[in-house]
């Protein structure tokens, strides 16, 4: 791919804090390399703002290699920008051309309040995990990983579900603000394996209860989440969440 430089107009959401009213601010950046990542372009912009004596833009990032899920940016109307199965840090500037205008907003969801600028608080996801996204193990030596036979198909499906990096793009994209792809993945990765069996029923009931408490919306099967998920998590996991919930919900003894 040929290397080129570009000048861009950026419209970025600026918001002082959780209570403040935010707005889109316009910035110009010059000579951006097509080989930069989107976040590196933001670094250039921030350095420019610092030199100008202005407040740099707050945005989340950590690994910058597509595995931590921090880099939440809604770019030109799409979570993580125009590329499929991709995070913002792995989006490269060759996705854009000279003269483009790029609009960058934070994830928008009542359950992900804005902390500052593009940074949102995703601790609602942590609370869902705390409600049931774990297994109980005895302390002591780690068990031999191959001691327990597991069907290859189940192991593969669990592994694919476990690829979820908790980025929240599914929620940000969903017109209903539903977290069911995330919760479906987190329930599936444990429900499919024997290690997850003891808490299988309480896990799905508690995680769904917490998800509802956090104010996420209800899935209507538009499958926008699957299309925008950087890890390609399948909506088959939402179906599994539904059937796990149905069986667990019907088999409890409470009246």
């Amino acid at each position: 791919m040929e290397h080129y430089l570009m000048n861009l107009t950026l419209k970025v959401w600026r918001q002082k804090n959780n209570q403040a009213k935010g707005k889109l601010e316009t910035y110009q950046v010059k000579d951006i390399s097509s080989e930069m990542s989107f976040l590196e372009m933001f670094d250039v912009l921030n350095e420019q703002l610092i030199v100008e004596g202005k407040e740099p833009i707050a945005f989340d990032h950590d690994c910058r290699e597509g595995i931590c899920g921090m880099c939440s940016m809604y770019i030109n109307g799409q979570a993580h920008g125009p590329w499929q199965q991709n995070t913002t840090c792995q989006l490269h500037m060759r996705a854009f051309k000279d003269g483009d205008t790029i609009v960058v907003e934070p994830w928008r969801s009542g359950a992900f309040p804005v902390v500052k600028d593009l940074v949102v608080d995703r601790s609602s996801f942590d609370r869902i995990i705390q409600a049931g996204g774990f297994i109980s193990v005895n302390t002591g030596n780690a068990v031999d990983a191959n001691a327990m036979p597991i069907d290859k198909k189940d192991a593969d499906n669990a592994f694919m579900a476990a690829a979820c990096i908790g980025c929240g793009a599914c929620v940000a994209t969903c017109k209903n603000g539903s977290a069911m792809l995330f919760v479906g993945a987190k329930v599936s990765q444990l429900a499919l394996l024997p290690q997850g069996a003891p808490e299988r029923e309480s896990r799905v009931l508690n995680m769904v209860a917490q998800m509802d408490k956090e104010g996420f919306g209800n899935c209507t099967n538009t499958y926008a989440c699957e299309a925008e998920c950087p890890k390609g998590i399948s909506v088959a996991n939402i179906a599994r969440l539904n059937s796990e919930f149905l069986l667990a919900g019907l088999s409890t003894e409470e009246k």
Binding site: R108, T173, N176, T220, A239
Partner: protein, 222 residues
């Protein structure tokens, strides 16, 4: 998990939508099949006989209560979910491109359903209420066929019915496979078959319904 918790949870509400939706889907098969009797072109004799049976048989009348129950639950739950889902994103995006990741009809079940509700009010007003009045006032046997013939001579009514059928098509097209996904059925082998069955169902049912007003309007049947 008590029953109340079950049915008021997000997934429980989806189950309610899916169950009542599938129930209404089966009802439409009965409705479309009986109405298709008008195409026998026997001056409505078979159709009216069926219509008479449907409005007088007590088992059917009893099932009708279930139908209205299911319909009302589907409508109210649907509207409540629409409202709740809308409020889960208090601040809207300035720029959003939903067409890049999903189909318009899958995102439009609320509005399609509302159009269907408006259509249904008109439709019940045209056919159901008249039939019931005739049933209880007990005079003349009610000729539903003639009533259809008269109604479907109007441009406006035919236009509204076709619009209703179009809304129904998209609602069913998404709804059928969506209901099964909600009930937890998603399978590499069977999901494509389910999608095909849903498409076939929506096409056949809606074509049949659309042909009814058109057949009267263009005098394809006498």
């Amino acid at each position: 998990m008590t029953w109340r918790h079950f049915f008021t949870s997000s997934i429980g509400k989806k189950f309610t939508m899916a169950f009542t939706g599938l129930f209404l889907i089966t009802f439409l098969i009965v409705h479309a099949s009986i109405n298709a009797c008008i195409f026998l072109n026997d001056g409505g004799a078979t159709f009216n006989a069926f219509a008479h049976f449907m409005s007088h048989n007590w088992i059917v009348r009893f099932l009708e209560l279930g139908l209205f129950g299911g319909l009302i639950v589907h409508i109210i739950q649907g509207l409540l979910l629409w409202k709740q889902n809308g409020s889960s994103r208090p601040v809207a995006y300035h720029v959003n491109q939903p067409s890049k990741n999903s189909k318009w009809y899958s995102r439009s079940m609320g509005i399609l359903g509302t159009l269907l509700l408006l259509f249904l009010i008109m439709h019940l007003n045209h056919f159901y209420i008249g039939t019931k009045i005739a049933l209880y006032s007990g005079d003349q046997p009610h000729n539903l066929y003639i009533e259809m013939q008269e109604l479907f001579s109007s441009n406006l009514i035919v236009g509204l019915y076709i619009a209703g059928v179009i809304a129904l098509f998209w609602h069913l097209y998404h709804g059928f496979q969506s209901a099964l996904q909600t009930l937890g059925i998603h399978h590499k082998r069977y999901t494509p078959i389910i999608k095909m069955a849903g498409t076939g169902y929506a096409v056949i049912i809606c074509t049949l319904f659309a042909l009814m007003p058109l057949a009267f309007y263009f005098h394809w049947i006498s």
